[in-house]
């Protein structure tokens, strides 16, 4: 909130802007927000994110917060999580939610789509083995229904099983009686969500306005 930007960071921002496609103002705003969340420190930890009051109502907050610290989303080829992230990593995660620019080629669109879906996939695939198996899927459904209160765990399990069954039947077709269905792979995931307009659905409007200061009273 009003932290002065030295010439060095200005240059970094420009760099980031080129790489991620955000505009300078947007990066500036995100930076301000970052500083606000991290109490003006250099890095952000899980507790900082967890302390956002608005997130309390969100049933999948744990998964979202994890996603920020997941190495796979940070364009590193490792797995596992980090404890703290810097501004650049924060920005990396945010780029997944950038709206699709106009005039992209087919290939670029496809890449963008894959990237966004990869983010989603990683969110579900908590053990980083490349597939979403039944346990993980169950956890997803349970979390989704956790706010509903009266829905029991059994129902959540049943729903997850039914969904899994559906996916298996559509992606694998008929399987031999003794074949084992390991889980949803990334390719299957793409297939299921084929009809979704990911490029258009999965984005947040990053205004050029500095809304971080506007919401001063409510956030944090």
């Amino acid at each position: 909130m009003g932290a002065s930007q030295s010439a060095g960071t200005e240059h970094e921002f420009q760099d980031m802007a080129d790489r991620t496609g955000f505009s300078l103002e947007q990066i500036g705003n995100i930076n301000k927000r970052f500083r606000q969340l991290s109490n003006n420190e250099e890095t952000l930890s899980r507790e900082d994110l967890a302390s956002i009051p608005a997130l309390d109502n969100n049933p999948i907050r744990a998964q979202i917060i994890n996603a920020f610290f997941d190495k796979r989303n940070l364009h590193q080829n490792e797995t596992g999580t980090v404890q703290e992230i810097g501004f650049e990593e924060f920005l990396m995660v945010m780029t997944h939610f950038r709206p699709a620019a106009m005039g992209l080629t087919e290939e670029e669109r496809e890449n963008l789509r894959r990237e966004k879906l990869r983010f989603l996939f990683n969110m579900h695939d908590t053990d980083s083995d490349g597939t979403i198996n039944l346990e993980e899927y169950r956890r997803v459904v349970e979390e989704l229904l956790s706010k509903a209160g009266t829905i029991g765990q059994e129902t959540a399990k049943a729903i997850a099983d039914a969904a899994m069954l559906e996916v298996a039947s559509t992606t694998r077709g008929k399987m031999e009686p003794d074949e084992f269905y390991e889980g949803i792979t990334f390719e299957n995931f793409l297939q299921i969500l084929n009809t979704f307009d990911i490029e258009t659905r999965m984005h947040v409007r990053f205004l050029n306005m500095d809304t971080a200061t506007l919401r001063c009273g409510k956030s944090k």
């Binding site: 995100i30 927000r33 606000q36 969340l37 994110l49 956002i52 608005a54 997130l55 109502n57 969100n58 999948i60 907050r61 979202i64 920020f68 945010m94 939610f97 106009m102 989603l120 969110m123 198996n133 039944l134 997803v140 459904v141 989704l144 509903a148 009266t150 829905i151 129902t155 049943a158 729903i159 099983d161 039914a162 969904a163 899994m164 069954l165 559906e166 298996a168 039947s169 559509t170 008929k174 399987m175 031999e176 009686p177 084992f180 269905y181 299921i192 969500l193 009809t195 979704f196 307009d197 258009t200 947040v204 409007r205 990053f206 205004l207 809304t211 971080a212 506007l214 919401r215 956030s219």
Partner: protein
């Protein structure tokens, strides 16, 4: 078949005409078919008393009391004619896939109008504004509001409002001014008209019509965003149309000189009042409906009625207060749908949905047929080439320009820009319809000297848009490769992902500190859940509202229903209503059929709980045992089965018809025990007869039917031989269905008696029928020793439902 219905349709029309002619002939001094007053019926029904003026000399056994029933009779007759027209239209599917239904209905209207005109030399049945606006339009709009996809509607609300308000104003202004300019330039010849009248005409012809849009777009399944844009615009532009119409009407009455800035400002203010006031009235009525349905638990049978009455009242109230009636009823439908669907009983919800559709479709049909009929009236036709052609040109061209302009502006602010192709379709889909005709028919002839010209032009515009644009819409959409609506329903996985998306987007917005679309939606959602649902929903409905759970519930219901359908297809005999859960076979059955799809999810990942999926299904169908897999295959082969089934149906059904407990509030199926018993006794008697005759060697048993004792033989039949020949019908209460059909052959009868006993006794009886190489005769000899008569009381007891 086609000829018959056509003949019937023509016959009805002829009947109507002849009736009228006859009536006019017998009326004493009644004025001939006057100008259409309020009501579809053009004739005078105030003459009711006059017809009976002739002297009565004695008691008349039968009298022809036409006047007595004239008004309702004609109305009912016309509704029938409209319905039959729709039937005729739908006869040929290849035709309806090319030409939209609405166009064909107008065509039929022309034919009917021609017949009526030819019969009476005047058009007595026309679409009058009163009937249209009060009796035909509300249902269509209520239907539109009730079935509106709210989420889609509100997320595109900004764009819809821009098109509806600014777009309609633009259309009205440009068409009006364009025509005026051309008139000044002399393109229209000499007509008594002025600028204000042109503007008024522009405003009523500018509005996109909801009825026409529904009718045409229904058959062309474009993607939902495009549809909601055009559709939403057609609904919301009523606010503008009403205001413009009233304002210019007032201006015309005032005369050009009185218009000054004050009046114009008043006009602008009236727009806001009319639009927001109308919506507010609708929302208030929606609240009323929701609150009402909260308390109607004890009168579920008339619950649906409230929706319609209150919806209609919202329309009339807004009309009374000179606000926008269409906006009122639309918002009433939009706002109340969620709460009434949650509060009301499922039967009531189904009723509301179906009745709503019946009314809306019926109204639409009548509207289009009468749009056709109203045209066949030389009295109203004034031809002015310039006026008509220029109007057509202007509405078409200016619509395109308007849409493209507005979209270009909107795309700067939209997250998902509207593509070029979509814009083209949106412009082309700006259809005018009955609302424009209704408005123009309301004009005062004294103020508007050229009313007939305007009416003619409006009719031609309507025909052009509905018929020509309607016919070419589908090819255009296909040619331009417009994105179509998704045909298949979302899978469960996709729905779950949908949910995840929403939550994720909200979370990201929270984290990044942006106030975005999702944030707003989330806030509204929270507010709604805390306050509105508490106020408007029944406590029991509040609990089971979760989205995913509802999906699950629907899926379960669907599964259960397809399960039952499958069972009935193979012969309902397979179902047993068992008091105790028959879980043993169930598991196996389930494993067998589903193992292809889900091999080891069941086995390996379960851990402590053993066969979860079957447990799910057990919850769905608790006490139904589905032992149908193996035996049904054999059942199909046997012809006796068919005879059996046939007999069962005939015999049973006949009796069912008789017992009707008449009640206005309860719809019950017949569960009469006595009936069941009686049938059983009859069949038992007849079986004894046939059994005796078979014993004498009269009729050799065709096959043996034995009952499969579940507890004894959980797996398949012990030997292949008897399996082929035997039918296995494990069941309890429905014994009698089983037994009825067996009157045919004695051998079967023998077999049947036996299992009943076995079932009743519940001991581990080895069914002699199961023994290998069974000779029917042997079987029967054994049967003789069985005191079958004594069995009756015992098995009868098991029939108690």
């Amino acid at each position: 078949m086609a000829c018959r219905t056509c003949l019937w349709l023509l016959g009805t029309a002829f009947f109507t005409c002849t009736v009228r002619l006859v009536v006019e002939g017998t009326e004493v001094g009644a004025p001939q078919g006057s100008h259409p007053e309020p009501g579809v019926v053009g004739s005078n029904h105030s003459q009711a008393g006059g017809g009976h003026g002739s002297s009565i000399s004695g008691i008349q056994i039968v009298t022809f009391k036409w006047h007595h029933v004239e008004a309702p009779y004609l109305i009912a007759l016309w509704i029938l004619v409209a319905g039959v027209s729709k039937m005729v239209v739908e006869l040929n599917h290849s035709l309806t896939s090319v030409i939209p239904e609405s166009a064909l209905l107008i065509l039929i209207g022309w034919i009917l109008g021609g017949i009526i005109y030819g019969a009476g030399k005047m058009q007595t049945f026309t679409l009058t504004p009163t009937v249209f606006f009060f009796y035909l339009l509300p249902q269509v709009i209520l239907d539109a509001g009730y079935f509106m996809p709210n989420k889609l509607f509100f997320s595109n609300m900004g764009a819809i409002l821009v098109y509806a308000v600014i777009g309609t104003c633009w259309n009205a202004a440009t068409v009006g001014l364009g025509l005026w300019g051309c008139w000044l330039g002399g393109a229209m010849g000499d007509i008594d008209i002025g600028l204000l009248q042109f503007l008024l005409f522009g405003s009523l012809i500018a509005a996109v019509d909801p009825v026409a849009v529904i009718a045409v777009f229904e058959e062309v399944h474009v993607n939902e965003v495009l549809f909601i844009m055009v559709f939403g615009e057609s609904l919301l532009n009523d606010g503008v149309t009403v205001v413009l119409f009233n304002v210019f009407d007032a201006f015309v009455s005032l005369g050009g000189a009185e218009i000054d800035a004050v009046e114009i400002i008043k006009g602008i203010i009236s727009f806001f009042v009319v639009a927001f006031g109308g919506s507010l009235v609708g929302i208030i009525f929606a609240l009323l409906i929701s609150l009402l349905t909260r308390c109607t638990k004890n009168i579920q049978i008339i619950e649906p009625g409230f929706i319609f009455i209150l919806g209609y009242l919202s329309y009339l109230t807004a009309e009374m207060l000179s606000l926008s009636a269409i906006l009122s009823i639309v918002f009433c439908g939009i706002c109340c749908q969620k709460y009434i669907n949650a509060n009301m009983d499922e039967c009531s919800v189904t009723t509301v949905r179906y009745v709503m559709k019946v009314f809306a479709n019926g109204s639409e049909t009548i509207i289009f047929v009468f749009l056709g009929i109203s045209a066949i009236d030389p009295a109203i036709w004034v031809w002015n080439t310039g006026f008509i052609l220029l109007t057509l040109l202007f509405i078409f061209v200016f619509r395109f320009i308007g849409v493209f302009l507005l979209t270009w502006i909107l795309n700067k602010y939209r997250l998902v820009p509207l593509e070029f192709i979509d814009q083209v379709v949106m412009s082309y889909g700006g259809l005018r319809g009955a609302v424009a005709y209704g408005l123009v028919a309301m004009l005062d002839e004294n103020k508007f000297k050229e009313k007939n010209l305007m009416v003619s032009t409006t009719l031609i515009v309507v025909y052009f848009t509905v018929m020509l644009q309607g016919i070419t819409m589908k090819p255009l959409v296909t040619w331009l490769k417009v994105k179509r609506a998704a045909v298949t329903e979302l899978t469960l996985a996709e729905k779950i992902q949908n949910r995840t998306f929403d939550h994720m987007l909200v979370a990201i917005e929270d984290i990044s500190g942006q106030i975005g679309h999702n944030y707003m939606r989330d806030k509204w959602h929270n507010f709604e859940e805390r306050w509105l649902c508490w106020l408007l929903m029944k406590p029991s409905a509040r609990k089971s509202r979760d989205y995913i759970f509802n999906i699950f519930h629907q899926l379960n219901l669907k599964d259960a229903m397809s399960y039952v359908k499958e069972g009935e297809r193979r012969g309902s005999l397979a179902f047993v209503r068992n008091e105790t859960k028959a879980d043993v076979d169930f598991n196996k059955k389930f494993r067998a059929s589903f193992s292809e799809i889900m091999p080891d999810i069941m086995a390996d990942n379960m851990g402590p709980d053993h066969v979860p999926l079957s447990s799910i299904l057990q919850d769905i169908v608790p006490s139904v045992c589905l032992d149908m897999h193996e035996q049904d295959l054999e059942m199909r082969e046997s012809e006796d089965f068919n005879a059996h089934h046939l007999l069962q149906q005939h015999l049973y059904r006949g009796r069912k018809q008789h017992r009707h407990r008449y009640s206005r509030s309860h719809l019950e199926t017949n569960k009469d025990e006595n009936e069941v018993q009686e049938i059983f006794q009859r069949t038992m008697r007849s079986r004894l007869e046939s059994f005796k005759s078979a014993k004498m060697g009269v009729a050799p048993a065709k096959k043996i039917q034995t009952k499969h004792q579940k507890k004894d033989k959980p797996q398949k039949m012990p030997n292949g031989n008897s399996t082929d020949k035997s039918k296995n019908h494990p069941y309890g209460d429905k014994d009698l269905e089983f037994s009825e059909g067996d009157c045919g052959s004695g051998g079967e009868a023998a077999g049947d008696l036996f299992p009943m006993r076995a079932y009743g006794v519940e001991a581990g009886i080895v069914n002699p029928a199961f023994m290998a190489e069974m000779d029917p005769m042997d079987n029967m000899q054994q049967m003789q020793q069985i005191p079958h008569v004594a069995l009756l009381p015992q098995t009868l007891n098991s029939f108690d439902p």
